[in-house]
Amino acid sequence: MPSVCLYFQVHQPRRLRRFSFFDVGRIHHYEDEAENRRLLDRIAHKCYLPANAILTELIGAYGGRFRLAFSLSGVLIDQLQRYRPDVLESFRQLARTGCVEFLAETDSHSLAFLFSAQEFGEQVLLHAGRIRELFGQQGRTFRNTELIYNNDLAEAVQEMGYRVILAEGTEKLLGRRSPNHPYRPAGCDGLKLLLRNYRLSDDVAFRFSERSWADYPLTAAKYAHWLHRAAQEEAVINLFMDYETFGEHQWAETGIFPFLRELPGEVLRNRDFCFRTPAEAAEAHAAAGEIDSPGFVSWADEERDTTAWLGNAIQQDAIRALYALEPQVRRRADAGLLATWRALQTSDHFYYMCTKWFADGDVHRYFNPFESPYEAYINYMNILDDFEQTLTGTQENSHGTDAR
């Protein structure tokens, strides 16, 4: 019986404040709290609260037949705890239905796996602890930041006890094979890999309101028909997307909420179909083969690689400078300093430095609080400069970025 597997990524970065060279050594808090608060309130209002309400209602209405997964970054959890406990409570309410799986990820929504095995492991543990505490779940499924994935990651994640891992269903991994089956990562026998069906996912996430699209307007019935057609002999259709698709990337005016509300009914209209969470889907279906990914893939841009964060010299310079501080951070054994260093690891900071302007670049610019990637780099390096001075003890430790 084919499953539909829905997973929504829920993340908002903690954006950095404008930090001039002349602030170095003088100001030691790095976050633009007012702006982050403003954006969080907006997204809570436009997306999280209305979408959570709809999902809660749907889960109630379908009595366990409608199921889905969320991954909440630790960075978002920080902000919800601080500013919007009501939103966090609405996620907890969803957790209590028993129909929602909460996935594991790096707490700082970081690229730590590419730079520090120790830091990666600690962040995953940290995040797992918070998920357990908030939602009462012991995660079985891992998704790395931006679905960045390779063989080594799969092995590391299996080692940590996870049973399922997610990645992008790109041809780079699949060749001509279908994304609609679980696979076995090369070198792993206790881990299953679920691959995002990017065409069907992006039909909602990107194309839903595009009037020039041949299939505009997209209705739940039409979409469910595609799912029913696509999955005749296949196991699981993985629809992975940012949660902000609902109400923020696709505004309420586009009809995205009625679409969401009607989707489960339309899918379940075909009695052969059901919804499963990633852990359930992986358990229900056998692996269709092995996926070998020596290089990194991600769900970003046309390239489906890591160049959105590490594609140019300034991004590489900034992130190397950040991870070069790890020994000093650990030596100081100071919770505040560690938290600050982790806050600086969030992938968005490097995304803002991306110079792939054209085509994909438009998306980058839309989400960039900086006027240019160069400004993002300069700002970041000034902050890192101040942080390093603090670390080396040339300054008082009076850091204010720790959210906990």
């Binding site: 001039s20 060279f21 002349f22 140019n312 010299a313 300034i314 310079d317 110079t355 302007w357 006027e371 240019s372 160069y374 400004e375 780099y377 300069i378 390096m381 000034n382």
Partner: protein
């Protein structure tokens, strides 16, 4: 199309970006098959522009004087003796006029007694060229050519395209010369089509002169690649230097914001005492700037080169680690593009037209000296940043071509001449 073009400077005799722009633009227009007769208000040496016919308006003022040299097919280039330079103020002009008078012992009889009178005289002489130089469209650059262009339009009945590279408000801020403003207003009102070098300039034309927005087109300038670039780049890499060099290149006048450059330099030097600042150019604020440098106590770190030309400009670009254009009001600004040709990263003010098209440049508000200083420091401190900007800029420059600008200008010509050119 046959174009009768009125300019005021052209290489090798020039003092600003207008000459550079006219050179690149006319070369590209000629490349598209247009035939251009270029009228210039100064006695020119042979310009390095085989594609142009240079016309002298001076010859018109003295009936019976010898005609022009036979020009290569398609182009005529005629200088008009006049004391005009593009960026003269009334006071400057008076000085030049008196100097010429001294040179000739008495009033030379050629030049008018003040700037406006001189512009009018050039207008009569230059406009008269339209009687014999057959053309389909008249293309004039900025206020000084307006009387000549209007005269030519009246005599020939051909449409006028007025190309605005700079307005009196850009050059003088609130202290505008009312006569110049009046000439601009007249030209903008009479012109059949107007070309603005940026949306910034288009907005100013609409807001300050109430011009019909429907007849304004924006055509961005571009930059010509010169052969010398490569040579100097090699020299730059070969030469060991410890001190980083930050360059200001432009007229040292209100419009260019030289004082913001110096105030930023003072801030930068507190953090990075080894940096050198070069102010290349001349202008009416030069003395004031030298005093400012003195009062900030940074005289040993700020160098004034005076006015530079040709190879000297290429050389100073090639020696620089960063180019800064802190203009208070810059309709376009070609110099940053030239800097980019030399792999020099650039910081430009948001109050410039070129900021509308450049992505791989850092931008500041001209008054935000601390922001400017912070960005100068960042580029000097992080070679990776400078390298990334230069590399991306090289790619960006490929798309900023005079050929593209010329195509858009030709489109404006076609709009001005709706029935197509007469034979």
């Amino acid at each position: 199309m046959r174009v009768l073009m009125f300019g005021w400077e052209f290489p090798p005799r020039m003092s600003g970006g207008l000459g550079t722009a006219c050179f690149g633009m006319t070369a590209a227009l000629a490349g598209l098959g247009h035939r251009i007769t270029f009228v210039l208000p100064q006695p020119g040496e042979a310009a390095a522009a085989p594609f142009l016919e240079l016309l002298s308006a001076a010859d018109r003022s003295a009936p019976g004087s010898e005609g022009c040299e036979p020009a290569p097919p398609g182009f005529t280039f005629r200088p008009v003796p006049a004391l005009l330079g593009p960026y003269l103020t009334g006071g400057d002009y008076r000085q030049r006029y008196l100097a010429e008078e001294n040179r000739f012992g008495q009033g030379c009889g050629v030049y008018g007694p003040d700037l406006i009178a001189e512009v009018m005289r050039y207008g009569r002489a230059g406009g008269a060229i339209a009687r014999e130089a057959a053309c389909d469209v008249i293309h004039a650059h900025d206020w000084m050519t307006v009387p000549a262009a209007l005269n030519a339009r009246r005599l020939s009945g051909k449409p006028l395209v007025l190309h605005i590279h700079s307005l009196e408000y850009d050059r003088s801020g609130e202290r505008v010369n009312p006569e110049i403003r009046a000439i601009e207003r007249e030209g903008l009102a009479q012109a059949d089509r107007i070309i603005a070098v940026s949306h910034r300039t288009r907005r100013m034309i609409e807001e300050l002169y109430g011009t019909d927005p429907g007849k304004i087109s924006v055509v961005y300038n571009a930059v010509s690649r010169s052969e010398a670039g490569g040579v100097y780049r090699v020299e730059r890499r070969a030469m060991p230097r410890t001190d980083k060099v930050v360059l200001f290149l432009g007229r040292i006048t209100f419009q260019k914001g030289p004082d913001y450059f110096i105030e930023a330099a003072a801030l930068v030097l507190k953090a990075l005492p080894e940096v050198r600042f070069v102010m290349a150019g001349a202008g009416d604020m030069m003395g004031q700037m030298i005093e400012l440098v003195g009062s900030r106590g940074i005289g040993s770190r700020v160098h004034f080169t005076g006015f530079l030309q040709g190879k000297e400009i290429e050389r100073i670009f090639s020696l620089s680690d960063l180019y800064v254009m802190p203009s208070v009001s810059e309709p376009f600004g070609i110099a940053p593009l030239e800097a980019m040709l030399y792999d020099v990263p650039v910081i430009i003010s948001r109050q410039s037209g070129v900021a509308e098209i450049l992505r791989h440049a850092l931008k500041v508000d001209f008054w935000d000296v601390a922001d400017l200083a912070g960005k100068i420091i960042a580029v000097l401190k992080h070679p990776v940043l400078a390298g990334e900007m230069a590399q991306e800029a090289r790619e960006e420059l490929r798309k900023i071509r005079w050929e593209t600008a010329a195509e858009r200008i030709a489109e404006v010509y076609r709009q001005a001449v709706p029935s197509g050119p007469n034979a």
